[in-house]
Each structure stands twice: as structure tokens, then as C-alpha cells.
Assembly symmetry: C2
DNA sequence: GCGCTGTCAAGAGCAGTGCTCTCGTTTTTG
DNA sequence: CAAAAACGAGAGCACTGCTCTTGACAGCGC
């Protein structure tokens, strides 16, 4: 393993890397990813802009690092919210998860936009992001798994056919064997609905209709809990 | 009214405005809004970059014009798809609407991102965009209205309380008086789910799970049609 | 302790951006 | 016909991401 005592150089490098990300995150929160400027970050840190390239080979790499941090911040928040909920109350956990996502998004709109808005770089999500990105979806299926056997579907799930049945059964076998394929797809539907609704609110698509979205959001969270059959 | 025969200058201006938008749309489709450059547009048109500012006061204004055009293109596409469906088959119309949105989005990913991704300008959606932006949602409630009286809800809608009841009753009275408040909210839920799912597919959030999303999309469209009670 | 080697910050510079201002020219208008 | 408005082009400002070179310093084996 790496030694605990590093050379002065290595410690300085690690510290500066953190400081750069900290300042970049500040500017991101202030002005959005669009206006995040390497030169401005360097200026705020009192160093030459060229020196920054020793730590992040390009602006996109800095953004990727911020994306990973944001995914982890959201993951921490949501996992903690779920953990604080009663262990035997899947609906309370569901509520905590959904409201955790929304609250975090409203507190960090630019970071949320970085995760779920238009992808900034050339469409290719680096490999390092997929694990942090999976945390909230995994927490969501964990909540559903915790309710397995007690699920109560008011409306039966339509049968899965052909390619969808194959895709779903592979996924279910890998990550939620105690849950039926139909319920699993409903979980994915609810996840996309949650992100769609939060994006609507943050991106201003609800201004003419449910402008203070609190009541609508709370209601929809319950409806989607019913949709996946949570007790 | 304005005369049909305009001065040569006015006709030239109108034509050049269209040409600028055409070229900008080309570059938008190629590289995305991020890389859309006024200078590059001017270069392609063989004119000085400064001359462009006589037609669009800023880059954001050009983008706003493109946003309006994109909303209208999507609106045309969806309205036409619904109109081509059997008049007495709300579920077929629903299918046409949802698949119309997805198909258009897949054919014009950057323009879709412009509409439903991270808002590019300073968060304020200009007044001119809200009418074109409302076309697809309005088409969606029209489909539901067309099925009023024949709706079949497998799972009853949770009662709307407090602020939500007030917001919804105002909206329902204004745009869908023959539909119950509960069904109306489910329509909004389905709309946000649709956009969330298409965004997931286009922005790469489905790569690990339902990567070819065709089967999952088709299945979910039917599930959401059930959700709003379409016959 | 000494020198080599790799790492580092800094500066200059390149190509590009949005945007403003001025300056002649052209077209419309009174 | 003359005044006024609109127009295209050019120069220029302040900024961006990024590259290359230069000189200084730290860490290592000897």
C-alpha cells in the first residue's frame, strides 16, 4: 500500500488538488458549469493558469472530477436519509429518498444540472463516474427489495415481452433477485419520473402550472410509491 | 396591417435572419449549443461577425430563437402524429405522442437538450418561449380530455390536499374541465416521466441497464397510459 | 555533502470567443 | 433632393482553453 507518510511534494500536490476542486466547486455553485473558468480558478488561488494543468489535464477533466464529487455528495445525502428512516417502513424510506434527491437538487442546482442536465463533454461519460452515479438508483432498488414479499400492486404490471423480458431478467438476477421483473421496471420508471420532475422544477418547466412544486412533489412521491407497490 | 410588399431592405433582412438561423441550426445539430459560435456562423455566411449583431443582439438571443424554432418543430411533429391516429382511440394517440417525442429527440438530440436539458441563458425563459413550449403538454391533456368519461383507473388516485387541490382545480378549470383533478395530476406525472425517460436515454443514464431502450420505452408508454386510465 | 533527474510554477504566446465602437456606404424617408 | 436611418466591415477589448519554454527546487543515489 501507499505509505501514510508521503513526501512533502506528494502532500502538497494532494492538498492543492483539493483546493482547486474546492474553488472550482465554489464557482460552479455561483455561476454554473457554463461559466466555470480555469483561469478564474487559478486567479482566485493566486497561481498561474498554466500551473493548473499539472493537476487537471483539461477543463473537462476538472469538470469530471466535480461530477464524481457531486454524485457522491448526492449519494451520501440520499443514503443517509434512507438510513435514518425506520428500517421496516419501505414507504418512509422511499419518501426520504425522493425528498432527499429533491432537497439536494434545490440546494445545489448547478451541480444537479451537471449530473442530470445536458452532458457537457463529448457525450462519453468516463468510466470513473458510473459507480458514483449508480448509488442513488441502487439505494432505490434496495428500498424496493426491502419490501419484497409485502408489495401490493393495485394495478397489475403489464407482461414483459421479447427483448425487454431478457434485459430485465438479467438485471433482476444481478441486483434484485427477490423482486419480480415487472416491479423492477416500475422502479426504473419511478426513478426516471423522479429525475424528470425535479428537472422540470429546477429548469423552469413548471412555472405556468405547479410553480411552488412542494405539494405536487409530495403527492407524486406517494403515487409512485403506490405504483411500485410499496406497503 | 403590414403591407405585403415590403421594401427591399426589409425583405433582405427577413431572408438573412432566416439564413443565419439556418446556419446556426446546422452548427447546433453538429456540435451542440455549447460550441455554437457567432463568429463561425458569420464565417460560414461570408459576413463579418459584427454584422450579425444587427440581427441578433446577443448570442443568447440567437439561442432563444433556436429554442422557439425547436419547440415548434417538436410541436408540429407531435401534433401531426396525434392527428394521424384514430380519432376515437385515445391510447393510440397517446402512443403516437410519446413515440413522437422520443423519435424527434433521437433525431435532434442537441435541439432536445436545448429544450429539456440545462437551461443555457441566465435561467429566465423569455416570454416568447412559453407558448411554443406548451404545445406538447397541451396535446397531452387534449388526448386525455378526448378520453374523458371512458377513463378506467385500475389504481384510484390519492386525494389531493391543501395547496395542491387549489393549484390543480385552477388548472383543470382553465384547460381540462371535463377531467378530474386526480387524473390531471397523473397526466403531469406522465409528462415529466416521459421527458425524464427520454433524457435518461439521450444523456446516457441508461447505458448500464436498458441500453437499447426501445422495448423499455414502449412498455413504459403503455404502463403510463394505464396510469392515467386511458381505455 | 554533491550532482543528477524529474517535478513544479510561471510567463509568453496562439487561436479562438462575445461584444462594442467607429467609419464609410447604401437605402429609405420626409 | 437632402436628411435620416440602416447597414456591412474593420479594428479593438477583455476574455477563454491550451501549449511551450524557462528557470528553480525537491528527492534520490552516490
Amino acid at each position: 500500500m501507499a505509505p501514510v507518510i508521503r513526501t512533502a511534494r506528494e502532500r502538497a500536490r494532494e492538498e492543492l488538488t483539493l483546493e482547486i476542486k474546492r474553488e472550482a466547486r465554489r464557482q460552479l455553485a455561483d455561476e454554473g458549469a457554463q461559466r466555470l473558468s480555469l483561469r478564474a480558478v487559478a486567479r482566485a488561488l493566486g497561481m498561474a493558469s498554466s500551473a493548473l494543468y499539472r493537476y487537471f489535464p483539461s477543463r473537462d477533466d476538472l469538470l469530471t472530477a466535480l461530477i464524481i464529487d457531486a454524485y457522491n455528495a448526492l449519494g451520501d445525502r440520499v443514503e443517509e436519509a434512507v438510513a435514518k428512516s425506520p428500517a421496516d417502513d419501505p414507504r418512509a424510506q422511499w419518501r426520504a429518498l425522493c425528498h432527499g434527491v429533491r432537497d439536494w437538487a434545490r440546494e445545489n442546482p448547478h451541480e444537479y444540472a451537471l449530473l442530470f442536465g445536458t452532458p457537457v463533454p463529448g457525450y462519453a461519460a468516463p468510466q470513473d463516474t458510473i459507480a458514483p452515479a449508480a448509488r442513488v438508483p441502487l439505494a432505490l432498488v434496495a428500498v424496493i427489495r426491502g419490501a419484497a414479499g409485502r408489495l401490493d400492486l393495485r394495478a397489475p404490471v403489464r407482461p414483459l415481452r421479447g427483448a425487454l423480458a431478457e434485459q430485465t431478467s438479467a438485471l433482476v438476477a444481478a441486483m434484485a433477485p427477490e423482486v419480480s421483473a415487472g416491479v423492477f421496471t416500475r422502479g426504473v420508471v419511478a426513478w426516471s419520473q423522479l429525475v424528470g420532475m425535479v428537472s422540470f422544477e429546477l429548469f423552469g418547466h413548471l412555472v405556468g402550472s405547479f410553480d411552488p412544486a412542494d405539494a405536487f412533489f409530495a403527492h407524486t412521491v406517494e403515487e409512485m410509491a403506490d405504483f411500485v407497490g410499496l406497503p
